[in-house]
Symmetry: C2
């Protein structure tokens, strides 16, 4: 093994780390851990998991590992240009803490830090569904909505490192309250939790008796997975809710396309696994909602292909210096 | 005169053309005309105005003009990579017509075509309020809202040439119908016509008797200029309407900052002349509405400085090949 890059994706509940061989884009070893709830424990868990995957990769490759691997860290929030997490609804403990420096002090070598969805976008642009496209955006549909933008073959970071956050785009000021404290953010409608909320609202309005029954009469406990499962069973109320969801998803995607005009908008995150339930409707609504829809037939909406490893793969790619496509 | 660049800004009602000396960034001569309502007449008017400013520049400089000037054309709509206007609410006659080729056939030399607000953004980034900033966005507040994005010192065109259109960003699905046929676009609230609509709504709701009186009892005839004038006279209803306007303006700007994280968001267009009436409130709402507002104090909201000539100056700059800042 001549090169080793370690990519780590830190989520609100789980950490995924993998050892990546950039020479042939293979994953040599991977490990998962729970995300602890204090900064000290997070830094310590990160140092531990780096050791685990280094050792694991060494075992797979059968060669001495390099003395200094490249390490990339994807964090779930807005990360400034110096690598400090500045806002993160799902990782409050680590805000304004220099995780990068603390981890570097333990490891003894440099760590690249980036927003998790930006990492995933970079992975999709390099190895996934956005391969060969210089202008694309990944939108991750999970509990919330994240995003990463690639333009002219480069990851867009913005002036302060905060670019690519579509989840808290205001789309309806009379919409429900968001985890960020504001009202009517896009992720309140078009994420996994948004799908659950649309399902609950339909059930409370008497429009989805099947969903209410599945939820044991508790409309508040309807989540995105329950809606998807009911839709797969042909429940009409659930199908209607997915129709509404696809409109909200398309509305936000149209806003992004109006602004960025990418070659493709990729859908990633957990909810992308159920894209067969809403993708065609989303594409149809998108054509109605985007400015000059008739002229914009070139903008595709596709499903990302690297799945739950995209963030960690992208962190590994960014860490080893692959910052321009085709390089 | 060693170089001459002609920049033309085509609006829904007026055409502005100017002869620009790129060696010292001076405007040598300018001319205005009405925008005709047929394609043939538009192309003919453009050829005529090019001749007028060439001759005018020649008279000013006192030297023989170059045989072939650079000509740049800013059009009010989405312009594809080949220079064809694909959608334009205010210039319907010219949609899908190859104005570029027709004009080139008459002039006998090449014409660069670009979206008008993208031209203006380029001018502001090169010579105006965005000078020295590699990441900025110009938002033009006129009858509608246009925009242009500069990133990494380059104008962002997108995969098909359509990037930078924030005006039709959905911000409220229960909002009023837009000229584009959709509902609740940002420009229905935060443009000059949006300010007028907010004023009319307040008047109809009995919240702005002063506005209603100024409009001769016709709420529907309240426009942005009337609201601004009343606010300058201290009318409380008008001031309240401007407060509401500043919230909508900030909400859209926050959406843009969440996505692009520019160094500065510049406000241009006719309504920017009244920025003293709403700028401070807009900045305050922006800090509440942008994700991680506390961490984003670096993102400025400023008024553009090149005024109504920005589009034509930018078209002239783009035409003569200045496509990277600092070049």
């Amino acid at each position: 093994m001549n090169e080793l890059s370690i990519g780590i994706d830190v989520g609100g509940t789980k950490i995924l780390a993998l050892a990546f061989d950039p020479s042939d884009s293979t994953i040599l070893f991977e490990s998962r851990a729970e995300t602890p709830d204090s900064v000290e424990a997070v830094v310590s868990a990160l140092a531990d998991i780096v050791a685990v995957v280094r050792e694991g990769a060494d075992g797979v490759a059968g060669n001495p590992e390099p003395a200094v691997p490249a390490v990339g860290l994807g964090l779930p929030g807005i990360v400034d240009s110096t690598g400090i997490l500045r806002a993160a609804p799902n990782l409050q403990c680590a805000i304004d803490v220099d995780v990068k420096s603390r981890l570097e002090a333990i490891l003894g070598f440099q760590v690249a830090v980036e927003n998790d969805a930006s990492c995933a976008a970079w992975a999709e642009a390099t190895l996934g569904a956005g391969r060969g496209m210089g202008d694309m955006m990944l939108v991750t549909l999970g509990t919330g909505i994240g995003g990463g933008i690639v333009r002219g073959g480069e990851l867009v970071r913005g002036a302060h490192g905060f670019a690519g956050e579509p989840g808290h785009m205001l789309v309806d000021p009379s919409g429900p309250k968001c985890t960020c404290g504001r009202f009517g953010c896009w992720e309140r409608f078009a994420s996994g939790s948004g799908l659950g909320w649309l399902g609950s609202r339909a059930a409370l309005g008497g429009l989805a008796p099947g969903l209410l029954e599945r939820a044991g009469g508790e409309a508040g406990s309807i989540d995105g997975e329950l809606v998807s499962a009911a839709a797969r069973d042909g429940d009409q109320g659930a199908l209607d809710v997915l129709g509404e969801f696809s409109w909200w998803l398309a509305a936000g995607l149209a806003n992004l396309a109006n602004l960025l005009d990418p070659e493709v908008l990729l859908l990633g995150g957990g909810l992308a696994d159920s894209a067969d339930l809403y993708l065609e409707q989303t594409r149809a609504h998108f054509r109605e909602l985007v400015l000059g829809g008739r002229a914009r037939t070139g903008t595709g909406i596709e499903v990302a292909t690297l799945g739950s490893r995209a963030g960690a793969v992208g962190a590994a790619l960014l860490a080893c210096g692959g910052r321009t496509l085709g390089s």
